[in-house]
Structure formats: structure tokens, C-alpha cells
Assembly symmetry: D2
Homo-oligomer: 109 residues x 4
């Protein structure tokens, strides 16, 4: 199934649900800070495996514990559904444990 | 600092604190089951980075979401302090979030 | 396209073209020795990317510069065409430069 | 051994031997183009292993088959001997087989 170009309205709607991502220079953009290089590069490896399996690859850079990712779709000259699918998977990789909400409003983990 | 061979008594004491590891065929042994191949291989990459930096490498095998690891120290023909240091780091990589103990005995995340 | 179980005759024919692979315990088997751990694990990462994209994963083990790989197909309880495709890709990864035959019978890099 | 800041003259001399590297914005800079993402990320993994073992990490970015690397040393606010050691190792990883010189001036591989 080829990538489908999204309209500005569709992008706006999907962005509101894509935690941490914003539109920068026409690309989906997010920056992550990990504990150290080992965690950063381990997460990059997981993203690499997912990206290769989707045949949809990120533009990304890394300096020690920082990973900066930009997503867009070359074939549609814009943002496609693939970018939001990959953005979701990247979020799961970098933030596996969402904050735990405890009864009484406390926060675990 | 070269690896230091541990006595049976030292190994026994350290094993009691090395969660999930046991002595199998004279090696520290542990098996992990991850969610899928992506998580398993991402964790293996993190272990690889740690192992190369220590210049102390595991014997390990992988089938999809399973990773089986054996640690021993060739230069001392037995178990050394390096093996327990690596075992601890491997635990941190595969089990980043220890069970959260909540007041009242509940368990989070 | 699902994996297709191969007959003994088909396996025999394909094995004759799969350099370095043999049938061991009903699986395609090959062992590689690299220069060091860095090269071994770099090659494993490339195999991991290919395997995840095929959704067809190896059984493999590593000790420092050695990588031992067994391939078979769970869904067909035997060897399938997928195993030979993956075996070929693994050969390309671990042996990128085939021996160069020079005029006069010499051998280059 | 801490990193040693290099003078402009030292950098100039070492750069003349560091194939493919140039000085861009006060950093050692080189761009590589690989066959595809699998090769690019496999090479990045090897660089990551070397970098973590040196505790000296690159600034780098990747888009599919392209890898752009910048090296400098934060602790000396400039270029150090570490940068040239890492640059050499990166060259070996990305260009394992130097062009073969054949008798008579031909070129193999």
C-alpha cells in the first residue's frame, strides 16, 4: 500500500494525538533525551528495525544521549500516514512505560 | 585491572544478589523473554555496547523474542568479578523498571 | 506470500548453490568467524534488519568473533524458500567482497 | 588518559593523512554514502561500539544510505587526538577494502 499524502487538516488532527511531535519545516519533529549513549543507541536500533520493516526511514541525528528525529515522505513530497505510524512506534520505543496514575492523584514510577 | 577469579563461596554470595541468574555448567546463566524481536535485539545492542566497553563479552543466543546469556571469564577459567558486573548491567537493560511497591502492598507498573 | 515447504530434493539442489551452508539437525547451518566482536555484532545488526523486514528470524548464537546461524521455518515445520533467501542475504553481509580472480590465476583481496 | 587539544598546525598535519576528512565549523567532518540503509546502520552500529569503548562519541546524522559525521572533543573545546583515532577507525569500518593496486597500474575490486 503506497503512502497517502495528508492534508493540513488531517495533519493537524493527527498531530494532536501524536504526543511530543510537532511540525517543523514541513516535517514531523521530535527530540528525545535518554540516560546515556547506550540507551539512545539501543533505542535507535529498535527504530531502525521498525523503519526497515516499514521501508520508511527517519531523518535523524544523535549526539551522546540526544536523538533528534524528522519524519516526512519523499514519495508524496509531504507528510503521509506512514509518518504518523512510525511516530507512534518511536514513541513506544522511547517511552515504554507511561506514567502510572495512582488512586488519589499520586504518580508512580 | 585484570579479572579476579572468584571462589565458590564468593560466587554463592554474589549469586544470591544477582536476580534471575543461576550457575549452569560453570557459567552465570539467565534467559530473557521480550515482547518481540525488536525489543530483544535492541536490548542485545545495549548489552553489546556495554560488553565492548568492558572488553568482556557474553556467550549468547537468540531466537525471536528469547535471549539466553552465559557469562564466564576465559582468562581465569571460571567466574570473575567482571561476570557479576556484566550480569547486573544486563539486568538493568532487560528490566529497566523494577516492580513498584505501593503503600498497602499493591503493586504498580 | 506464505513460506513454502521444500522437498528433500529441492533442498539438496538449493544447498549446492548456498555457499557454506549445510543441513544440520534439519536446519540450514553456517558458522562465521569475523575479525572481532565489533565486526561480528555489526554484521548481526545487518542480518537483524533484513530478518525483521522479512519477518523471518534466525536462530543464532555469538561468542566474541564467532556467529553460528541456524535457519528453518516454524510455520512449515521444515525448510522453506524463505530460509534460502535469508541464507543468501546473510552470505552477502558476512562476505561482501568475493575473492577477486585476477588474470593469470592470482588472487586479489 | 585525557584528550589532548591539538594545535592548528598539528590538525593540519594529521588531516593530510585522514582520508576523506576535512575541517568544517571547527570539527572533523566526513560524509559517507552506503549501498542502502542496512549497510549504513550496520556500519553505524560498529562505530557506536568503538565510540562507547573509547568513551568518545560522534555527532552524526543519517538519512537512509547517507551518514554524516562530525568529530570534536567537548572537554578540550576543540579537536583532540581522540578525534583522529576515531576518524581512522570510522574509515576502516566504512571502507574495509582499500582499492587493490595491481601490477601494471590496473585497479581491482
Amino acid at each position: 500500500m503506497p503512502a497517502k499524502k495528508l492534508s493540513e487538516a488531517e495533519i493537524k488532527t493527527l498531530l494532536s494525538k501524536a504526543k511530543g511531535w510537532s511540525l517543523v519545516n514541513g516535517k514531523l519533529h521530535r527530540e528525545f533525551t535518554c540516560d546515556n549513549f547506550v540507551t539512545a543507541f539501543g533505542n535507535m536500533t529498535r527504530v531502525a528495525l521498525v523503519a526497515e520493516a516499514m521501508n520508511h526511514h527517519p531523518e535523524w541525528s544523535n549526539v551522546w544521549n540526544k536523538v533528534v528525529i524528522d519524519l516526512h515522505t519523499h514519495s508524496v513530497k509531504g507528510i503521509s500516514d506512514f509518518d504518523f505510524v512510525l511516530a507512534d512506534k518511536i514513541n513506544e520505543i522511547f517511552e515504554p512505560f507511561p506514567p502510572l496514575r495512582l488512586p488519589g492523584g499520586g504518580k508512580g514510577q
